[in-house]
């Protein structure tokens, strides 16, 4: 009987074999990760630079993000209208994104050579020859300032800013990506040029390509778009996060109807030895969508909050472990107690055999859903490449999930998560601590 079941499982895994990721280096030594798929005449391209806000100089917080968003505002003598029109008339979608660990450039285009090559020429100019004129910096700075003000009207944004500040104490992860009004005021066009020259280099980037190309065209593409990048230096050491959290309760008044509650601490990183134990463990605690301990206790039993979940958000260094809920003022204390007690109890006693079995069935049975589109595959390929995960990460994913035991989950949660060291942030109609 057992054998029969194993056989069935194997068959169902085989129906969704993970995509094959090809890997090579360009003549400049840039790592390229490529998944060839011809079902649709399109490609998804991502360039990921080690140029996230962790690389901001201490007195210039926000420099990484503003550099990233200004790339396409003026380059190689073209203005923003010309650059964006050049993509959009082809039906191509160009985007930039700035995060803590990395800064990205993305392009989605039809794969026909005449269209794609035109889009790539434009993309090459943007990453290689941005102009950074002073008046455009000024415009962008004003936009970012308005964005910062807008965050002040969102209790959720306020709670996460205060949370990161408290759990990361002085590490670059503690500051908002876009910096502060003060740090932004000091940024000059020279800073942008210097940041670009230092971090947008061939030594500091990886490329992921998913779509309708053959290997030869993909190789050619990777060579062409990076041909004008300078070699640059290896970036400096990535600062470590201290896992030593200190218990802290932060209350911020906001004229909202709900109190937003956010609790947690530094969690785990990509490639973490406890990755799979913490991932599966959290799935049972609060990661399983409509089925989890937190969803059951907070929402299904008590109706205290619309959202009730917890998650690890891995980064190069320890990303956050957090859980958030929002509830009306008079039941905020009750909700916080239920939230803390549910997590405490879980760390104390761990999951049941039945819970672990159900979680594994959900995660492994849902594997085909993880890789069901080019966009999703492109996301995985970029993470695998940028964080140096094994190329067979997706192939081995279900195997690793199935291997996780109750003891491993108990051990990992007890070692890594401590409710008594949580940072707790409450934003809403509460008394400030000030």
């Amino acid at each position: 009987m057992n054998k029969f079941l194993t056989l069935l499982l194997l068959i169902s895994f085989n129906t969704s074999a993970a995509p094959e990721i090809q890997h090579w280096q360009t003549s400049k030594g840039i790592d390229v990760y490529f998944v060839e798929t011809h079902q649709l005449p399109m490609i998804d391209l991502q360039l990921v630079f080690d140029a996230g806000s962790v690389r901001d100089p201490i007195n210039k917080r926000g420099l990484s993000q503003i550099t990233n968003s200004l790339l396409s505002q003026s380059a190689d003598g073209l203005n923003a209208d010309q650059i964006s029109f050049e993509f959009e008339r082809l039906g191509a979608e160009f985007g930039t994104s700035g995060g803590y660990d990395s800064a990205g450039i993305s392009l989605r285009s039809l794969s026909d050579a005449a269209l794609l090559d035109t889009a790539l020429t434009n993309l090459r100019r943007v990453i290689s020859f941005p102009d950074f004129p002073a008046e455009i910096l000024e415009r962008e700075r004003n936009q970012v300032l308005v964005g910062m003000q807008r965050k002040l009207q969102s209790p959720r944004s306020i709670s996460s800013e205060r949370f990161y500040e408290a759990i990361y104490q002085g590490h670059p992860y503690a500051y908002p990506n876009e910096g502060t009004a003060e740090s932004l005021a000091d940024i000059t066009t020279d800073d942008l040029k210097k940041f670009h020259a230092e971090y947008y280099t061939s030594n500091n980037v990886m490329i992921s390509i998913v779509g309708d190309l053959d290997r030869a065209r993909a190789e050619n593409l990777a060579e062409t778009i990076t041909k004008d990048l300078n070699k640059g230096k290896q970036p400096g050491v990535f600062p470590q996060v201290s896992s030593q959290a200190k218990e802290q309760i932060i209350k911020v008044f906001h004229p909202s109807t709900q109190v937003h509650i956010l609790i947690g601490q530094p969690g785990m990183k990509y490639g973490d030895a406890d990755y799979f134990a913490l991932y599966v463990g959290n799935h049972i605690l609060g990661g399983g969508g409509l089925v989890s301990r937190l969803f059951e206790e907070i929402r299904e039993k008590r109706g205290l909050s619309y959202g009730a979940s917890s998650y690890f958000s891995p980064r190069r260094e320890l990303g956050p472990f957090l859980s958030s809920i929002s509830t009306r003022q008079d039941q905020a204390d009750e909700a916080l107690t239920v939230l803390r007690d549910t997590i405490s109890e879980y760390i104390q006693n761990g999951p049941s055999v039945a819970e672990l079995k159900a979680a594994k069935k959900n995660i492994t049975g849902g594997f085909p859903l993880r890789i069901s589109s080019n966009r999703k595959i492109s996301g995985y390929v970029s993470v695998i490449g940028f964080y140096g995960l094994p190329l067979d990460y997706l192939d081995k994913f279900n195997e690793k999930i199935d291997a996780v035991t109750i003891d491993e989950i108990n051990d990992a949660f007890k070692r890594r998560i401590d409710v008594n060291k949580f940072v707790t942030v409450l934003v809403g109609p509460v008394e400030d601590d000030k």
Binding site: S12, T15, S16, L40, P41, A80, D81, S84, F85, E88, R89, L90, G91, A92, E93, S109, L110, D112, A114, L115, R139, N142, L145, V146, G147, Q149, R150, L152, Q153, F253, P255, S256, T257, Q258, G289, L290, V291, R299, E300, G303, L304, S305, Y306, T327, R328, Q329, D330, A358, K361, N362, T364, G365, G366, F367, P368, L369, I371, S372, S373, P429
Partner: protein, 461 residues
């Protein structure tokens, strides 16, 4: 060059023209739409009911959405929460959503597990139990959802007011989540009659997209849904909007940091254009979609190019129009002023753009650019089985029929510069406009004047 590019994109488009839609109707009236897509070994199953907030009446607004929540609270056969547990154990992802014109439930699963979804959905189409205790808890969840999404979000709050101001008699004035007072007074009996009235096979469309054969899906649908009984044919609720007789202006004062402007113009849906003796030409809704693309379809579009850059009067300006509505809707422009710019300056700048579109035709290259984007998007959207299902389900459920989704690209591609000018002149006029402004008031405890809490927030005495 631009023309050549567009011709090339069209050529590519026609060479991959997607999978065909298979339509079946069961004897009990359930419609089934299947799109075969073997890109990944998965299947998306969505069941769409013709009911949503625009079917509701004063006093019980929000009932469709509350019922959507209660559909997860058990049937005679499957107890509370069991639906979600079974889907989870099978590796599925699931959820549901409610709109003005529809309520839909979906699961995505590895392809062999489609029968599991069918069995559970067929069961809850007719057999939910609506326990009093579960309702008392769930209505609190919905109130928290309303506080989270609307009451504590000044921009959403503005949108709700703008909508309720623009429409006087059309049910589109009602928020999908319902007014708080109606949520307070709702009871299980309201839900029971709502469920009985609308949840029947002859008021639903089952949409399946994935690596499956249409005939097999039809057999499965007959097996699981075939024995369900239909209800008496349901009259669609329809109270038309009275003709607007002049501009409406409304100011919303909320604790906030940033002002916001919304300009909403009454516009016809495609459905109106298709009626006999309609004063709306069939191409007009497509020209309105094109107009929205000209204004805000990308970074080279007029709003980004001229108002965000150019004049630097806004930090963001967006337009939206949706031709796939059950009833006539709105062309909405929403904007946030740049630092140091007033709402008045912003409104004047937007008006100047509208006036220019009325007085002169858009350039050929702008038109071509939007068409290239529409055609390419149609290819990109095939990357998502879920999205393909969404489109079919929406068009079918608002009463257009899925065939209109299929001809969208072709219709947009035929729009001319002159037609864009014509719809701007015909519809973007003050007589049918509603202008809503968010005026921030201080967020300090004292000056926001709220004591600790906004009025109406604390509700459960």
């Amino acid at each position: 060059m631009v023309k050549f590019i567009l011709a090339l994109i069209f050529f590519l488009f026609s060479s991959i023209a997607g999978a065909q839609v298979h339509e079946f109707v069961l004897k009990n009236g359930l419609k089934l739409l299947v799109k075969e897509d073997d890109r990944a070994p998965i299947v998306v199953s969505q069941i769409w009911y013709k009911v949503g907030s625009s079917y509701e009446t004063d006093g019980t607004t929000g009932v469709s959405h509350v019922l959507e929540h209660m559909m997860f609270q058990g049937t005679r056969k499957h107890g509370e929460g069991e639906f979600s547990r079974i889907i989870a154990e099978n590796g599925g992802s699931e959820n549901a959503f409610t709109g003005s014109d529809y309520t839909a439930y979906f699961q995505t699963l590895e392809k062999s597990r489609l029968p599991i979804s069918f069995e559970l959905e067929a069961d809850r189409m007719r057999n939910i139990t609506l326990p009093q205790e579960a309702f008392e808890k769930e209505i609190e969840v919905v109130k928290e959802e309303r506080r989270l999404r609307t009451d504590d979000n000044p921009n959403s709050y503005l949108r709700e007011v703008a909508n309720a101001t623009a429409f006087q008699t059309s049910p589109y004035r009602q928020p999908i989540i319902g007014w708080m007072a109606d949520l307070e007074s709702m009871d299980v009996a309201d839900l029971r009659s709502w469920y009985k009235k609308w949840y029947a096979p002859n008021n639903a469309t089952l949409v399946v997209v994935g690596d499956i054969e249409a005939d097999d899906v039809y057999k499965l649908a007959r097996k699981y849904f075939g024995r369900l009984k239909g209800e008496v044919a349901l009259p669609p609720s329809h109270r038309p909007e009275v003709e607007q007789q002049g501009i409406k202006r409304v100011i919303v004062k909320r604790p906030a940091e940033i002002a916001r402007l919304t300009m909403a113009y009454k516009t016809p849906a495609l459905k109106s254009a298709l009626q006999d003796n309609s004063s709306v030409e069939k191409w007009e809704p497509y020209a309105l979609e094109m107009l929205s693309g000209i204004l805000s379809g990308g970074s080279s579009a007029r709003f980004a190019s001229r108002l965000v850059r150019g004049e630097e009067v806004a930090t963001g300006v967006n337009s939206s129009y949706n031709l796939a509505g059950r009833l006539d809707g709105l062309f909405v422009i929403s904007a946030t002023p740049a630092q140091g710019k007033s709402i008045e300056e912003l409104e004047q700048a937007i008006r100047a753009q509208i006036n220019e579109l009325k007085s002169s035709e858009v350039a050929e290259e702008e038109l071509q650019r939007v068409k290239a984007q529409v055609v390419s998007s149609d290819v990109y959207e095939k990357d998502s089985a879920f999205y393909q299902g969404m489109i079919l389900g929406t068009f079918e459920t608002v009463g257009l029929g899925w065939e209109y989704a299929e001809e969208y690209v072709e219709q947009i591609s035929a729009i001319t510069a002159e037609q864009v000018q014509e719809v701007t002149k015909k519809y973007l006029n003050d007589n049918v406009a509603t202008i809503a402004v968010l005026e921030p008031i201080s967020m300090d405890r004292e000056s926001s004047g709220q004591g600790a809490v906004l009025p109406g927030a604390n509700s459960n005495e």
